[in-house]
Symmetry: C2
Subunit: 307 residues, 2 copies
Amino acid sequence: MATPIIECVANCSEGRNIETIHALAHAINTVKDVSLLDQHRDFDHHRCVLTFAGSSEGVAQAALELVKTSTRLIDMCQHSGQHPRIGATDVLPFIPLDDATMSQCVDLAKSVGKRIGDELEIPVFLYEEACDQSYRKSLEAIRRGGLPDLASRMESDPAWLPDFGPEHPHPTAGAIAVGARHPLIAYNIVLNTSNLAIAQAIAKVIRASSGGLPAVKALGLELKTQGLVQVSMNLTNYRNTSLHVVFEKVKEEAEQRGVSIKGSELVGLIPQEAATQAAAYDLKCDSLDSDHILESRLRHYQKDNLD
Amino acid sequence: MATPIIECVANCSEGRNIETIHALAHAINTVKDVSLLDQHRDFDHHRCVLTFAGSSEGVAQAALELVKTSTRLIDMCQHSGQHPRIGATDVLPFIPLDDATMSQCVDLAKSVGKRIGDELEIPVFLYEEACDQSYRKSLEAIRRGGLPDLASRMESDPAWLPDFGPEHPHPTAGAIAVGARHPLIAYNIVLNTSNLAIAQAIAKVIRASSGGLPAVKALGLELKTQGLVQVSMNLTNYRNTSLHVVFEKVKEEAEQRGVSIKGSELVGLIPQEAATQAAAYDLKCDSLDSDHILESRLRHYQKDNLD
């Protein structure tokens, strides 16, 4: 496989209706040369995350099919959930893997975004590497206050007109953030408490934007069905701040508040290096790195023999 | 790469002379369709471990070239080291990866073993899956007492005639154990003490053969140059007993003896699943498994698209 591989990690606003989630996955699976690598759903977030990869053309096609299906099946007027969101397909980032480049992903975000705007009549906001305007480059800026707040900014402020598509939210599908970004790790730590204020306080301490850990975004969220709360995070550069550093810091902050950690969970996939890093730390094993992972070494061997 | 891949983890009795180790690595690298995946050396063990992989024919050829080179450059009469051993190339196991089978590896061990015996005149003892006689199936049985002890058993006991080659050890290269086996993890934990009795006592507690942890072999060894000792282990089934279970147990046993752990080290490569397992344990993260490692998922995708 010498062609560049592009990954898409689509976040859709459905975490409860299994049939709908199956239909979303099916929309991706029908496209040739694309593989659905992972699906994750969360009842409390009322959200699912579909990770797929393939050629640039394949991934573009699968992304469009997914947005079509989510527009048909998900009604944002009926939606409620713990996670901030602006649309049925809420976030659609393209990520370069292997030999792919960020510039290919930026081009892809723009061409898929244009088709979503033109053909499906959903307003599209480009984000991260696909966006040139600093004030709306981050997902947090676009999603601030959720769909109602975005809708009123679109109405009242020309700086918030979408990059593609109509000037008003789609009546049921809302809006979509389409972007290009580096790989990130979506990682949640569940606390043994139902006190949301504790999760929010810890999130504030650890997030980079309030002077916490570098390359960490964090929110405190309720898990109503479990009677617990979680610190929900994105680690945007695990080489900068790794899983175990985040885990130890959240554990320490929780203990200071008299709370223990119930467990942690990944949303979607993580790079092998990130898991290896965490194992090496706990085993005090300096020699445990990607160069000592059999599959990683074999992959290089196989690449050499295919090229 | 749809052809079966076979791995060989050759252990040679040279951990000090860098030129010799380079020559051994070079012998492998000259063979087409074979890749040297890792090299590890240990001064105190006076031993190096060369991990390579490729097609059955390629790996057979590289193994022979390696044994030829070690026979030319290593003299067992001059050798001393902490690790038990019987020959210049001491252990030569073949391990099935990907689509390869154990039966292919058994055949390979026998054909390479026969050529080593016939062409290089070094006695060969088949071991593990390549050996049908239970009393000499394990490496420990063959290596008991090192080369001098094996030599006297060969002399006095017909049950200890080699599978291939001459009835007496080679004057400089000694003997070789050639086998077929499942993947294992060679893993050492270094203790903050120079007291060898402590490492030996812990090794005895944890090794499977004395009722310790399943699928664990363990020795206490001195690291003279560091003034420390280590528990040197093979984990023959990490799904049964994983890295973190071993680490925690050795830590506990060491602490009971008033000793802390300095660190741990891998010899050669480990399967990605084993590293992931250790990370998941420490992060209390049930969802962290091989199915959530990006490269692992992509590998399946790429295989599907190549087949």
